[in-house]
């Protein structure tokens, strides 16, 4: 067993874990942060994306021990926590407004992919948004309203769709 010390959503956590424990399983099962979803466990679907020191990573491709001493951010830390209107992060609010999610399973990973992308590219065009999303699989939306949600979050004008 190894001890990991890390900060998750601004809160410090210390746990003794097996070296083989995936970061995704650590977040979900040790810390109860089940907003991070697991869709493939081989780094393709992107549902488990979290931030490690501010950058998007696949938590299924990291061991918990690799996050020792680092800052992790999950979808639970994105908004103020309550689910009333005012508490949503602007990106979350845009997803709701533009119908950027259906079953919602891939959504936390998409949001966590977009946070650093929009930090670095505050005014992306549609092609750049689609490139940024191309590492996240979604089976429900056809991506169209995900793109529209990102556009809405950036400049308040989603692609007209009717």
């Amino acid at each position: 067993m190894k001890t990991v010390d890390l900060t998750v959503n601004g809160v410090t956590a210390r746990r003794s874990v097996e070296p083989r424990l995936l970061l995704s399983d650590f977040l979900r099962n040790e810390l109860g942060l089940t907003g991070t979803h697991v869709g493939c466990e081989h780094g393709v679907c992107g549902a488990c994306t979290v931030l490690l020191d501010g950058e998007a990573v696949r938590s299924c491709l990291l061991f918990a021990v690799q996050a020792d001493g680092h800052q992790v951010a999950t979808v639970e830390g994105l908004s103020a926590g309550a689910v009333e209107d005012g508490a949503l992060h602007p990106l979350q609010a845009a997803f709701r407004e533009a119908h950027g999610l259906q079953c919602g399973f891939c959504t936390p990973g998409i949001l966590m992919t977009l946070v650093p992308f929009l930090r670095d590219h505050p005014h992306p065009d549609e092609r750049e948004i689609r490139e940024a999303l191309s590492g996240n699989l979604c089976r429900c939306t056809g991506y169209q309203n995900v793109v529209a949600a990102v556009q809405l979050a950036c400049d308040g004008t989603p692609t007209p769709d009717r």
Partner: protein, 782 residues
């Protein structure tokens, strides 16, 4: 204050805040004290005799609590139920062979479960899989459909004389006579291969037995919690009321999460009761590729007979359907293929014969579209080839054969999957075709753009296809609407159909909100929990809005009557003079502030003392059910512009247009989203996704690295337009939409790509394509 329209409005979804913040409960999020974890040992063989399973070492491994093989299940080992008995087609042959919980003496597909390890963690359970010693004798695998039917072929089920799972013929008129009198007969062979449903959430089951309450709770990623509850109660010898099945948020369904009684679904609750501890199993992606049902393998030999103007005289289709190793879902998929082939066209003579074939591959059950794709592919491709042969424009040949509005209801004289005659309830097809032509600017493209671009050496093509979709079938669904007593306005709505992302929380709330004159946000919807509602079947066949939506409407209407009746006494006015709006009842023309709020009225509807009038039911609550006579028929036209690079066989979709008619639209935002997702799924089926089995029955691409789902850079912007031809079969006038987008895409893709490459003369008669396959077709045509 007047009542406000809610049905038909673009209302943002009430379920989204929970999903966006990570607070929505999915089955794998369920964590219980003392919970154990399961891993399954699965067959590596497509076909083998199972000689011995020795779990001694696995049982000894620290952290392992139990290991079960078929022998350990005792009386609990039994084949699963036949889920959908076939319709009463004359002369039908059907051999039911349903899946078993753990393989006993024979392995019939890769991924079939052999042993179940229960341990303190999933990691330990997977470790112990390596300890199990398996002795098996490989048998030749049955993979190819035609080879499977040859004399002397190895049999998947040895008690049967052959690999025939079913054989059915449906006829309308006399095709042979029609063909004899035809100007032209076109014959082709069409292939359609398998894809994965690929919900991003894999399956999962958690079960907990409470010995004090004597109650079993099961969280299940199912599209049909009520049938699962009823089936588990029967299997486990419990009363239905002792079993609660919860389908919380489910991360995409697409068909295979229907009431399968999957082995894992049956074994996890059994183990939880036996061990007295909660038990969880979550499928991993690799298991999903082998153990979650799949669809789409068919081979069609089809012909169409036409007069010289291109009018269809008849169609004959003989096809093979791959049902996989077992056939628990009956004949839903091939019957959908058989019925959907007729499309929006008048086909006076039809002969359709299919043979369903057992193979050593994963079980086949409906996946979004459920066999309809194949029918659309066959008829649309036949019309394309006929148009070329007769030198008629492809749009014109379709137009000449479309059913006219005055022909509805239109009886196709064959049986649909719901055992009812295939009768289209309503439709108006030609205006939809014209609208699609206009949106994609078909005539200008064909006359001006395409010749200009072709002259510049570019391979651009256009496609346009029509389809119908049988939706909204029975038997029934139900709903209970309750006005919550107390201050303010809160309405509860409970219904049995669970949600896998279709927006039920919002669409159903819109229906109830409109009937009761409240806001959508005031309607709290509970779906997929058998403790809240325990009558119904499930979410399948694009039927949620039609069948459950109509039940919500009926229950809300009954509550509205109760509200008005009670309020008429309270306000001393006739019910005809009352207005129900803004969460209150008031007298028409009077001061709305003088009315009664619904919560306060609900308090009065449940008095604690005094007397009530005889026959009074307590509360402002009603339960209602809705079951249509038969399904309603949605329709649409898809059109697409593509550019193909013949050197790389890459296809770029330049534009994609959908004109869709699902009757009355409850929430256009949700309907658009359903279409977008369906089209993306269809594009995947057409060009990216194929489950590749080798001759040993081994799946060669069982990961998302090798099996390509379309990504955000592959799916184009989809332009949608809605038309509303209401269904006369339900009070909302609604038709289903969940599967629509995925159905015509393969046919459209083939037509547009073929058009782009018309200089090569190639014909596309197979789906899925890939750049490799398309390149091979181009080479062959040259």
């Amino acid at each position: 204050m007047e009542p406000r329209r809610q049905i038909g409005e673009r209302v943002r979804r009430t379920e989204d805040a929970r999903l966006l913040t990570g607070h929505a409960l999915f089955v794998d999020d369920v964590r219980l004290d003392g919970m154990l974890h399961v891993a399954f040992l699965r067959s590596q063989y497509a076909h083998a005799r199972l000689v011995r399973v020795d779990a001694t070492a696995a049982r000894r491994r620290p952290g392992v609590v139990a290991v079960y093989t078929a022998a350990d299940l005792g009386d609990y080992w039994r084949p699963g139920p036949l889920l959908v008995p076939p319709p009463p087609i004359a002369g039908l042959v059907f051999n039911a062979c349903t899946q078993v919980p753990l393989a006993k003496d024979k392995l019939r597909h890769v991924g079939e479960p052999i042993a179940m390890v229960v341990a303190e963690s999933r990691y330990l359970a997977e470790d112990a899989l390596d300890d199990i010693v398996l002795q098996a004798e490989p048998l030749p695998a049955v993979v190819d459909l035609e080879a499977a039917l040859r004399d002397g072929a190895t049999r998947v089920h040895e008690h049967l004389p052959s690999n025939v799972a079913a054989h059915a013929v449906q006829r309308k008129g006399d095709y042979a006579r029609a063909a004899r009198g035809a100007h032209t007969v076109i014959k082709r062979r069409f292939l359609y291969d398998r894809g994965a449903s690929a919900a991003i959430e894999n399956r999962a089951v958690v079960a907990q037995w409470d010995p004090r309450a004597e109650e079993l709770t099961v969280w299940d990623t199912t599209q049909a919690p009520i049938p699962i509850r009823n089936g588990l109660a029967q299997l486990l010898g419990l009363l239905q009321s002792q079993v609660r099945v919860v389908a919380p948020f489910v991360g995409g369904g697409f068909g295979p999460k229907i009431m399968m009684y999957y082995p894992e679904e049956v074994l996890v609750p059994w183990a939880a009761m036996r061990l007295g501890r909660p038990v969880k199993w979550t499928e991993d992606r690799q298991e999903n590729f082998f153990a979650t049902t799949q669809e789409r393998g068919q081979i069609h030999d089809a012909e169409i007979a036409l007069d010289k103007r291109g009018k269809i005289l008849g169609v004959r289709d003989v096809f093979l359907h791959d049902t996989g190793a077992y056939d628990p879902y009956g004949l839903t998929v091939p019957i959908n293929s058989q019925c959907t082939l007729l499309g929006p066209y008048e086909v006076p003579n039809y002969e359709s014969e299919f043979t369903a074939v057992f193979t050593n591959k994963t079980i086949v059950t409906p996946v979004r579209g459920a066999g309809r794709q194949h029918g659309v592919f066959v008829i649309e491709r036949l019309l394309d080839f006929a148009a070329k042969e007769l030198k008629i424009d492809r749009v014109e040949i379709r137009r000449r054969n479309l059913l006219r509005p005055d022909q509805f209801p239109f009886n196709n004289e064959i049986l649909f999957q719901d055992s009812a005659p295939l009768t289209y309830d309503s439709g108006d097809y030609e205006p939809a075709l014209d609208q699609a032509l206009e949106l994609i600017d078909y005539h200008r493209f064909v006359r001006e753009e395409q010749p200009r671009l072709r002259a510049a050496g570019r391979h651009v093509g256009i496609g346009i296809v029509c389809y119908v979709e049988g939706t909204g079938i029975g038997p029934y669904e139900g709903a209970r609407v309750t006005v919550e007593p107390g201050p303010g306005v809160r309405v509860r709505l409970a219904t049995g159909v669970g949600t896998q992302g279709q927006g039920h929380f919002t669409s159903f709330a819109q229906i109830v909100a409109e009937v009761l004159g409240v806001e959508v946000a005031d309607v709290h919807v509970i779906t997929g929990d058998t403790r809240e509602f325990h009558w119904g079947t499930g979410t399948f066949a694009s039927r949620g809005a039609v069948v459950a939506g109509s039940a919500c409407h009926a229950a809300a209407t009954r509550v509205r009557e109760k509200i008005l009746e009670l309020a008429s006494h309270e306000l001393n006015a006739s019910t005809a003079d009352l207005v129900l709006a803004g969460g209150k009842v008031h007298v028409r023309g009077g001061d709305p502030s003088g009315g009664i709020a619904l919560g306060a009225l609900a308090v009065k509807a449940n008095p604690l003392r005094g007397a009530v009038r005889p026959g009074t039911e307590p509360g402002l609550e009603a339960t209602a059910y809705f079951g249509p006579d038969r399904g309603s028929t949605a329709s649409g036209v898809h059109a697409m512009l593509v550019e193909v690079d013949p050197e790389t066989a890459q296809v770029e979709i330049k534009r994609y247009v959908v004109v869709h008619d699902c009757g009355r639209v409850i929430n256009p935002m949700i309907v658009d989203g359903q279409i977008h997702g369906g089209v993306a799924h269809g594009i995947g089926n057409a060009f990216y996704e194929q489950l590749v089995y080798d001759e040993e029955g081994q799946l060669l691409n069982a990961s998302f690295m090798d099996y390509l789902l379309p990504t955000a850079t592959d799916v184009p912007h989809i332009e949608t337009a809605h038309r509303e031809t209401r269904s006369p079969l339900n009070p909302l006038g609604a038709k289903g939409v969940g599967e629509a987008g995925a159905i015509p895409t393969g046919a459209l893709f083939a037509q547009a790509v073929e058009d782009a490459l018309s200089d090569t003369g190639l014909e596309i008669c197979e789906i899925p394509l890939s750049p490799n396959q398309l390149f091979a077709l181009i080479e062959r045509a040259r």
